[in-house]
Each structure stands twice: as structure tokens, then as C-alpha cells.
Symmetry: C2
Subunit: 251 residues, 2 copies
């Protein structure tokens, strides 16, 4: 049988605000465009709409930068309030060099400005923060989608980050519910009978990247359905994907 | 309009050997399973079949390890000939620690053992090397596919690598033809009228990840068609994606 996966963008989501029923709106938008959710779909959602729904919005003018943020931002020509917010969202600074502030977030993720971002936010001088508990956010949406549609789906929340060594950003998973974040092939045999060793695949990151193909950056497509992908529906937590410090050669 | 992208695995490719007409075999396999290639498709192919076709296969028993490879391999319980081959395929060692040899390949890629790999190779004690010129390999397949089908398609060659900070491997692009490897949104405006700053997307890596969803590690699905994705058909080279040393904070 020919394996096939469909990536379907969810269009026409209205502007969300704190307290919006994101699951209900997504279910309705998917139905309205003729692609209602089905059992076993994976629903991939950008962090931006989740953060807006959860009120993770900050007016930069209300932030008083620390002396460190003030000084470094001035040196690098960056907005001090944004740098201050990024430091507040971090548990460790990994690099602060050549105009780039790259930190470890409270969740254990590594990204520029701790995921604090001013694009795709209505109004001026507003920034979004990453959800406080992205796995919890994913569980809430998953529960809401079950209520709205009667179907069990997996939910992945994503953000776009740079990587060492390679130009360009790609989509990464930051929260997951209803799906195992890693697929483990270790101990299995390849078609030639050799045991596979280094094959634990970060499937949620691959699903995040796949979804970006229909999302773009300019269009109002903040979510996508991945249909036809078989996944393990065990409880997922992004913490399974965070590499322990002592095993990481590039902190 | 609902944006939709289809990821279709190409099944039933026969075992390839040095000199096989990979493009012809892929075109035929796609046709045989009822999903013939179409104009504008992106064809994503794993490094493994490309390397086999190009004869990038090495019998590990023919390799004499250097003293460094010998000593480190013994300490870490790794095969010395594999470590030696990995060093030969590298232009710089980035990390050699806790059992992991991570180098910069001659192409400028960062991966474990410089991409030298013993899985999914027929016979015992055989390893594949990455293609010498993956962009060239992609161009050759693209040309062959045009000849076999009459259609212009883009071609991406992939390998699976680990990443700093995150557990699990994902698929990355190592060669490209007929597609711009980066999509640049800088200077464009988001739906709220704010200029986008940090938005250059490594689309070939996202396409590589998407293709992995139908490839798996155990099934004989060494290639996939991505259909419905609009891309810039300018000449691509993976070198556009290799970050210059002086701009990289994590070498």
C-alpha cells in the first residue's frame, strides 16, 4: 500500500483573544472549509494563537529593564524591554553574543530571546511569551477538540527557531498531547537484518516542520491537520525531548 | 482556498547497486503504484540509496585505522574502522566526547560520524558514505526524472541527524536541485502590518522532515513525493544553508 500523509492548513480562524475557545474555533474552521477533524488526526498549532488565547501578551512599555538588559541592548541596538522579558523567561543564558541572546527557557528549550516575539501580534509594542506549560496547553486543546468533534486527535504546539550550524529557521514542537514525542526503533532490524542503533526519531519535530509547509508566515493559517500519519497515542510530554545537560555536548 | 500538501511514499524500489538508473527506477516505481510524478512535485530521497547508486560503499575490513581512531575507538567501545572512515570524511572535529564523534564534513555539515553509516546496507561490515557532491547528485536525479517523465520537479536528498539540546534525530536536507533552499520573508509584513525580521525559513529541511513521516526506518520507502507545495524554483545549493563559521555561536 502506498503510504500517504496529508497536510491540510486550517484557514479562516477569527482573531483570538484571552479566553477564546481555541479548540471550538479550530473545530469550526476545519468544518467550515470542508475538512472536519477525523479520529487520529494530528492537529498542529502555532504558539502564537495559543499564547494569545492564554493571555501571554505583554505591553513592552510596562517593562523596566534590568541594568544588564539595558546595557547589552544599547550595545547591540536591540530593544531593552524585549531583552529584559527574554531574560525573565529564561533559566540560563547560553550565548549572549554578536547581537544574539540565546537562552534556555524555563521549559528547557533553547531559542533566541526565549521565544519572546513581536511579530504576528496586533497593536504596537506588544510581545507574546511562550505558553507557561505548553504540554498543558496541548492537553486543553485536545480535550476541547474531543468535546467539539467527538474525536480523539493528537495536538502539537509549535514555534520557529534557528539551529546551530545551519541558516534558516524551522518549526519545532514545544508542546504535545496524545502522541509519543519520540519513536524508538532501537533493537529493531533494518530490512537487511542489522539491528538499528541510533534510531530514536523526534516525530513531533518532524510533524511541526511538515505543518509549516502549509502555514507560511504571512497567511492567516495558524494551524494544520496532519492526516494519515500513524502514531503512538501514549501520553506525550516534551520533557522526553529535552536532552539532559550532562549528555549535551553543545550547551 | 484550503492549502494542502500531500506526502506520498514511493514504494517498491528494487535494490540499487552502483550505476543503477535511480531516476528511472523512481519514476517507474511512482508510476507503478498509481502516483506518477507531476510537474512541480518535490522528490525527496534518502542519502542511502543515492550513496549506493554512486558506489559510496566501503568494506570496513579494508580500512586501516590511524592511531587516534584506534585509541579513541577502543576507549569508547566503537569500531575503529568506522571512526577512521568518519575522520577521513571530515574537515574538522567539533566534539569527540562521551562516545560521540561529531565532525564538520567536507560539505560543511555537522553530524555524528560524518554521516558514515552501517544501517540499511546489504552485507556485513559495509558502510555508506555521504555523496561527495549531494547538490550534484540531486541535479543528476532531477535531470533523469525530467528525461523519464517530461516533468520539471525539485529534488532533495536527506539524511537523519541528531541535534544539540534535543533528543531524537530528524531528517535534514543534504543536497538540493531545482528549489531555493531558503525562503526569505524579511522586509515583508505580517497580517498586522509589522515588518518581519528573523524570518528566513529553511524550507528544504522542513520538506525533508515531512518526507520522513512516510519513510520510516524499517520499511523500504527510500523516497517520497511532496505534492502541492509551492516553492521558488531558482537554483538551489546547500551551501546557502551552511552558516559561516564566524557567525556560528555553537561550533
Amino acid at each position: 500500500m502506498t503510504p500517504e500523509v496529508r497536510i491540510i492548513g486550517i484557514n479562516g480562524l477569527p482573531e483570538v483573544t484571552p479566553g477564546s475557545d481555541l479548540a471550538g474555533l479550530l473545530a469550526e474552521a476545519a468544518r467550515a472549509q470542508g475538512t472536519p477533524l477525523q479520529e487520529g488526526d494530528v492537529v498542529v498549532i502555532t504558539q502564537k494563537v495559543v499564547s494569545k488565547t492564554e493571555g501571554r501578551l505583554v505591553d513592552l512599555s510596562t517593562i523596566t529593564p534590568s541594568p544588564l538588559a539595558e546595557r547589552w541592548a544599547a550595545e547591540q541596538g536591540r530593544p531593552a524591554s524585549l531583552i529584559e522579558l527574554a531574560l525573565r523567561e529564561s533559566r540560563r543564558v547560553s550565548r549572549m553574543d554578536r547581537g544574539v541572546l540565546l537562552t534556555e527557557t524555563h521549559h528547557g528549550f533553547y531559542c533566541v530571546n526565549a521565544g519572546v516575539d513581536t511579530s504576528n501580534v496586533p497593536g504596537d509594542g506588544m510581545a507574546t511569551l511562550l505558553p507557561q506549560d505548553p504540554d498543558g496547553s496541548a492537553r486543553t486543546v485536545r480535550k476541547g477538540l474531543r468535546k467539539a468533534t467527538g474525536h480523539d486527535v493528537a495536538v502539537i504546539i509549535t514555534d520557529s527557531w534557528g539551529r546551530p550550524w545551519r541558516e534558516g529557521i524551522t518549526n519545532f514542537a514545544i508542546g504535545a498531547a496524545g502522541i509519543g514525542v519520540l519513536r524508538d526503533y532501537r533493537g529493531m532490524e533494518d530490512p537487511y537484518g542489522h539491528e538499528l542503533h541510533a534510531s530514536v526519531v523526534a516525530v513531533v519535530d518532524e510533524l511541526a516542520s511538515a505543518a509549516e509547509l502549509v502555514m507560511g508566515k504571512l497567511d492567516r493559517v495558524p494551524a494544520a491537520i496532519v492526516r494519515g500519519y500513524e502514531y503512538s497515542s501514549t501520553t506525550g510530554t516534551m520533557q522526553d525531548l529535552v536532552r539532559p545537560a550532562e549528555q549535551d555536548l553543545y550547551r
